[in-house]
Each structure stands twice: as structure tokens, then as C-alpha cells.
């Protein structure tokens, strides 16, 4: 049987491949020959990083049009590339852009999609993926063909593994129809985030409704700064408008796996746990001794976050 060809949808931040794409290269290498698809202007370092993480090939569309227009030029280029090259499997990370491109591509190909997978494998010619469902179930899911199969994978499902290879670059020719450039990216403003972002942080301090009001998130920011970590949130406080959606951790938010997760005033609903229970260590602070979050905590503290968090920050600052 010919080697399976597995493509990974890749995006850049500050000129470097995003971590989720590097994670998926690990998955792709395990399944066959890994290739990265990169539709964005990029420097040599980005290409080298993809090779170093196992991409044998980088399909590179080096055109500014991909940053000026959203979704449709990417889908058009990808569909043409798929038609020409006939890969077996495409893996997409769970980023906003990847989700948009994947859904539209699936619509164009008339293909099905597996979303939210945490592992992907083949059993003979049958594709199988593991998909956690609501935190209470884990499903094994397959897709009807024909190939290519389209799968979206949750963050942190695979480790980043530098293997020290070199990628062959294959330019993606752009003969893009202007009619495929309908969504103009008027501006992209980087949010000046202090410290690490949620996906990469080793320590996450997350807040829930128990903080009482939006202003109290400042207490978490101070603790996070002290620990070199990032701040996250439950959906209840995102819905309340205290913090933006990008803070949300859980089933419908981000999946995080830090070394330490400190849950402050979070009840531990199953949908929240779905996004953080892979954390190596969990500290939970909650007034309610019966809160579900304590069931998965390594250290459970029954008490008032508004008292404990500032004291803890102060104590750590004094060290």
C-alpha cells in the first residue's frame, strides 16, 4: 500500500507556525507522509520550522491576498490543490480561521467532517477518530469516503515533537478568481496580551462567576503575573460580558493542558471540565465544599476567592 499522505492546515503568528499546527504534524507523521499547507506570506524560518517538526513537504501559497481576504481564496486554493494532489487526510487545528476554512471546504467537496477529535487513526482503510462528547462520553467516529477525509483536532491532543527534518517547498500557484475574494479583512489588531497566551501558558488562573464582578478579574491578572501565567474564564462570565470569548475554556471554548490550573470561583460544570481536565495539576478555590470542581482538584481550598487570591499574590510577591 502506498504511503498515506496527510496534510496539516498551518497558520502563522508573528511569522512562526502556530503551535496547534506543529501538534498536528506529530499526528500526521504517525499516519504517513506529513505535509503542511501554508497559505500566507512566510519567511524561510517558518518553512524551516515546519520541516523541523516533520513536514516532508510544505505547500506554500506566498500571496498577500490570503491576509487581505478571509476564507474563500484559501478554500479555492485548497480545493484546487486537493484535486491536483489527492491527499488521503487533511487535519485542521481548532483555530477560528481553520474552522471557517474547513467548514466551507467540506461544503465545496460535499464531504463530511469529524470535529473535535482528540486522536485519529486508520484501521485498514477506515478512518477512526476519538471524539469526547459533552465530557460524559467518548465516541469513536468514522467518516464515509471518498478521501480526502477532513478532521478537526482539539488543541493539545498531540505533543509538539521537533524531529529535525527539512521540508521540500512546493509553491501553490494562485490563479484566484476575484469573485472568490468577498470577505475583506479591513484590519487585524494584535491584542497586547501580557505574558503567555492561554494555549501555551504553563500556569493558568481561571475565574468564574464566583468572582462576583468583572473588576475582580484584576485579582486573577495579578496572581497570573506573579506566576508567569495566563488568565482564563468560564463561560458564565464570558456570557456576562466580563471578559472576551477568547478567554473561554471548556467544551465550546479552548482546551488547555497547563502544568497548573487554578480554578477560582468556578463550579466545575462538565462543559468547563471538558476544556481543562487534562491539566497536570489543579488547584480549586470555591466557597461550596460540594462544588464539582473539587472532584478533579489535586488541592481543593474551601473559602472565599476574594480573600484568598490577593493574599496568595502578596505572599508570592514577598518571596
Amino acid at each position: 500500500m502506498a504511503t498515506r499522505r496527510v496534510w496539516v492546515w498551518t497558520e502563522l503568528t508573528d511569522g512562526a507556525p502556530q503551535r496547534p499546527a506543529l501538534e498536528l504534524l506529530t499526528a500526521a507523521r504517525g499516519l504517513g507522509e506529513a505535509a503542511a499547507v501554508l497559505l500566507a506570506p512566510a519567511g524561510d524560518e517558518a518553512i524551516a520550522a515546519l520541516g523541523a517538526h516533520g513536514a516532508a513537504v510544505v505547500y506554500h501559497g506566498d500571496d498577500a491576498i490570503y491576509t487581505q481576504y478571509a476564507v474563500e481564496p484559501q478554500v479555492a486554493a485548497l480545493a484546487a490543490l486537493i484535486e491536483a494532489e489527492a491527499p488521503d487526510l487533511l487535519l485542521f487545528p481548532s483555530t477560528f480561521t481553520a474552522r471557517d476554512v474547513l467548514a466551507r471546504l467540506a461544503g465545496r467537496l460535499g464531504a463530511g467532517v469529524i470535529a473535535n477529535a482528540t486522536s485519529v487513526r486508520f484501521e485498514g482503510d477506515r478512518l477512526l477518530a476519538t471524539v469526547p462528547y459533552t465530557g460524559a462520553y467518548v465516541a469513536t467516529v468514522t467518516l464515509e469516503g471518498p478521501a480526502p477525509y477532513l478532521v478537526q483536532v482539539r488543541p493539545k491532543a498531540y505533543p509538539v515533537e521537533p524531529v529535525g527534518g527539512q521540508a521540500e517547498v512546493r509553491p501553490v500557484a494562485t490563479a484566484l478568481d476575484p469573485a472568490a475574494c468577498r470577505v475583506q479583512v479591513v484590519e487585524t489588531v494584535p491584542q497586547v496580551a501580557e505574558g503567555p497566551n492561554l494555549e501555551e501558558a504553563e500556569v493558568i488562573v481561571a475565574g468564574g462567576r464566583g468572582l462576583g464582578k468583572a473588576e475582580n478579574f484584576r485579582l486573577l491578572e495579578e496572581l497570573a503575573r506573579q506566576l508567569g501565567g495566563a488568565v482564563g474564564a468560564s463561560r458564565a462570565v464570558v456570557d456576562a460580558g466580563w471578559v472576551p470569548y477568547s478567554y473561554q475554556i471548556g467544551q465550546t471554548g479552548k482546551t488547555v493542558k497547563p502544568n497548573l490550573y487554578i480554578a477560582c470561583g468556578i463550579s466545575g460544570a462538565i462543559q468547563h471540565l471538558a476544556g481543562m481536565k487534562g491539566s497536570k495539576h489543579v488547584i480549586a478555590i470555591n466557597q461550596d465544599p460540594d462544588a464539582a470542581i473539587f472532584e478533579i482538584a489535586d488541592l481543593g481550598v474551601v473559602g472565599d476567592v476574594l480573600t484568598i487570591v490577593p493574599k496568595l499574590t502578596e505572599r508570592l510577591a514577598g518571596r
Partner: protein, 261 residues
């Protein structure tokens, strides 16, 4: 301006979810099902746009006959009319099959805007809106936390990883909206009464011109082959704070033990 909002009836997310072990499908008990809270943001967004620019809000759903209740709720909020795609053969649809059915109806409506939630609360694949945009050949502006329409131009503000972004396109277009976009209104008594008289247009497969094999379980590409229940519990250490921050020492000791400090 005519706006179609896709809305779904989902099992009440505040109750434990149940999956039928034989079919691997979610148990949908009509008495315990509601309009997806995520879709209320789309309905609210549409109502505000129509209040500003004039026009009509049409809510569209695919589901069992009981999904009419979810449509009534959206109409009680203020939507003008509803379309329910319901047919035995639609059961077991995946995102692809759902998008096909919704597209068939929305195509006939020729709306200026289609509004979806970013993902459904029960299935949360987030794949239907993008598929729908492609099938309808509409530009898609997603994850909106703010939307404005001026003339034929729609502008969306959104948050993505590490950045905020502004997207712009010409109508007609498809949007997905997040919870930050607007606080959904609570239906008034008058609204509830008015909704009882508003029409729900029921469509079956034949009227959509769809093949039975294109939708429902037969048209689904994604299949569940096994389902396992999981339960996880840790036996962690517990401390109780005395109200003055006495637990801080235990926390610091833990941080030292795991070498975070």
C-alpha cells in the same frame, strides 16, 4: 432587509445529557427541550437589524415536529414567521445533511442575511454555518461580537487568537454570532400571544426537492461506531480557609511541591 436565522431545538443543557446506547443518538425529549440559547443571540441580532433598517425576520429550523416550540419562542421574541423542516427521513442527519436541508429552504427565501450561532449547544461541531455559506454561495463573516449594516455593506468585529479583526463584505452574506453580540430579549406576554398566531410553514423532503439519500442518517458521512461513558475523579487534598486567608500556606506548599515556585 430579509434575514433568515437558523435556530435549533436542543435538549435543555442544564439537565444531564442522555445518549441512546443503541442508536448512539442524543435522547431528545420534547418536554425537556428548548430553543438553543446560542441561537437567541442570532435572533436578537436579526431583530435589532430589522428594527434599524426595516424588513423581516424568518426563523428556520430542521428537527422533529416538537421543534415548533423553539420556533414559537423565537417568534415570541419578535421573529415574523418560521419554517420547520421536518420529516422522518431527516433523523440522524450530520452537519453535511443538515446544511443541505437548511440550504434548500433558505435558497428559496433569497435573504439579505443569514445568521447562525457559532455552534449548536448539543452537537457543537460548528460546521453547519460554513457549509451552508458554501452551498448558498454567500460570503461568511464569523464569530461576530459586533455587526453593522450600511447600505449593502456588512461589517463585523470579532476576536480571534491574540487579535481583534474587522471583516467586511457586500450583502447577501452569512454571519455567525457569539454571546458577546447582544443580550437576547425576554419574550413579553404580548409577544407570546402574538407568536401563537404567527405562521409556521412545515416542509418535508419532497417539497424541498431533496433525495432521501442526501439527508438524514442515509446522507450522513459521519458515523459513530462506539460510545463509552467516562467518569473521572481525583482523590485530592482538601483544606478549608478560616476566612482570613489561612489556606495560603497550604497553597504555597503545594506550589513548591510541584515546583511552580
Amino acid at each position: 432587509m430579509k434575514i433568515c436565522v437558523t435556530v435549533k431545538q436542543v435538549p435543555d443543557p442544564n439537565l444531564p445529557m442522555q445518549v441512546d446506547p443503541a442508536t448512539h443518538r442524543l435522547v431528545r425529549n420534547p418536554d425537556q427541550s428548548i430553543l438553543d440559547p446560542a441561537d437567541e443571540y442570532g435572533v436578537e441580532t436579526a431583530l435589532r437589524l430589522v428594527e434599524e433598517h426595516g424588513g423581516e425576520v424568518v426563523v428556520v429550523s430542521m428537527g422533529p415536529p416538537s421543534a415548533a416550540d423553539a420556533l414559537r419562542r423565537a417568534m415570541a421574541m419578535g421573529a415574523d414567521r418560521a419554517i420547520l423542516i421536518t420529516d422522518e427521513a431527516l433523523a440522524g442527519s450530520d452537519a453535511r445533511a443538515t446544511a443541505r436541508a437548511l440550504a434548500a429552504v433558505i435558497r428559496g427565501e433569497q435573504p439579505d442575511l443569514v445568521i447562525c450561532a457559532i455552534e449548536a449547544t448539543d452537537a457543537y461541531t460548528g460546521m453547519v454555518p460554513g457549509m451552508l455559506a458554501e452551498l448558498l454561495d454567500l460570503p461568511q463573516l464569523t464569530f461576530a461580537r459586533q455587526v453593522a449594516v450600511e447600505g449593502q455593506t456588512v461589517t463585523v468585529h470579532r476576536d480571534i487568537e491574540g487579535a481583534t479583526q474587522v471583516l467586511r463584505a457586500q450583502l447577501p452574506a452569512l454571519l455567525t454570532v457569539t454571546a458577546s453580540i447582544a443580550e437576547p430579549r425576554y419574550p413579553s406576554f404580548k409577544g407570546v400571544m402574538a407568536a401563537k398566531r404567527k405562521p409556521i410553514d412545515e416542509r418535508d423532503l419532497a417539497s424541498l426537492g431533496l433525495e432521501a439519500g442526501a439527508v438524514g442518517a442515509a446522507g450522513a458521512a459521519e458515523r459513530v461506531v462506539a460510545l463509552e461513558e467516562v467518569r473521572e475523579e481525583k482523590q485530592g487534598q482538601m483544606v478549608t480557609d478560616d476566612g482570613t486567608g489561612s489556606s495560603v500556606e497550604a497553597i504555597v506548599a503545594f506550589l513548591e511541591r510541584i515546583q511552580v515556585v
